[in-house]
């Protein structure tokens, strides 16, 4: 029994079918608890007023936007090295989720920045690199859509993901060098001094857990869809040949 057994598409579907309702339900539970807790039962910040409540959406979405790309990178590597089809399809399934998370992070950030910084958008390093990350998501998804042969598409997109990761990281530091930031430091870190205050911390953790679970549930569901869609294409192609 090893992890690689889940690389069998049939087994993957069987297992995720069983797991999916649990994950989805707990995602919904965490999100509802975290957001309700954050929205109704936390005090306002003394400087930001009630806008501090946006943190419960902004920070988890931003975290997932980056982690989705990391997950795609790992899945692409697994595809390149061990050629497990589920892995390639999981990377494909994760991309739109990651792109949506990037949009949420950018949109909530802009809405928060309007009263706080006095501007919807600033060419701050963090903001800019998120915009660039969004462009990478767009390119990745467009390449998947454009290639007809499934295996070639998996190969090409995974190489794009590897190269793109290097350049996304490079852009992050280039942008840092290019402009000084308005954005505050990390909201969560091991360094206690930098952390957000405890009242905001617990609901934020619940929200992050909710976003992670939501991501997992969506990726499972979408990967299943991709597997089925591909199986259907294969059957139809065989029928046409016969």
């Amino acid at each position: 029994m090893s992890l690689w057994e889940y690389a069998n598409p049939v087994r993957f579907i069987r297992v995720t079918d069983r797991v999916l309702p649990v994950v989805a339900a707990s995602a919904l539970g965490c999100l509802v608890v975290g957001l309700v807790w954050g929205f109704f039962f936390t005090p306002d910040d003394y400087r930001q007023g009630s806008t501090v409540k946006i943190i419960y959406l902004h920070v988890p979405a931003a975290l997932m936007a980056i982690n989705a790309w990391l997950m795609m990178l790992v899945a692409s590597l697994i595809w390149v090295v061990r050629r497990h089809h589920v892995s390639a399809l999981a990377a494909r399934a994760a991309a739109p989720v990651g792109a949506t998370m990037t949009v949420i992070a950018l949109a909530t950030g802009a809405i928060w920045g309007q009263p706080m910084w006095g501007t919807w958008w600033a060419w701050d390093p963090r903001l800019t690199s998120f915009l660039i990350l969004f462009l990478f998501y767009l390119g990745y998804m467009a390449l998947w859509e454009a290639i007809e042969n499934d295996d070639s598409a998996a190969d090409l997109t995974s190489i794009l993901c590897l190269v793109g990761s290097v350049f996304a990281l490079l852009s992050r530091y280039a942008v840092n060098f290019w402009n000084q930031g308005l954005h505050q430091g990390a909201s969560l870190s091991l360094d206690k001094e930098e952390n957000v205050a405890d009242v905001f911390y617990m609901p934020l953790l619940v929200c992050i857990a909710g976003f992670v679970l939501l991501f997992v549930a969506l990726v499972f569901l979408r990967t299943q869809t991709e597997i089925r869609a591909r199986r259907m294409r294969a059957i139809l192609a065989r029928e046409r040949m016969a």
């Binding site: 007023g49 949420i104 969506l218």
Partner: protein, 51 residues
């Protein structure tokens, strides 16, 4: 029931609104496509078995 959001009510509510709409849309699209593909595949499999 709604807490006093002060002068930033519009800001906070629109941020929540935009995010929830996006998340719900993503979930709905995923579920809808999953259903459609699943039905189509079942259809194809049934046709193949009967043939």
């Amino acid at each position: 029931m709604i807490p006093d959001l002060g002068k930033y009510a519009g800001t906070v509510l629109s941020a929540y609104g935009v995010s929830l709409v996006l998340i719900v849309a993503l979930v709905l699209v995923s579920v809808w496509r999953a259903r459609r593909v699943r039905a189509a595949l079942d259809e194809v499999e049934r046709r193949r078995k009967s043939a």
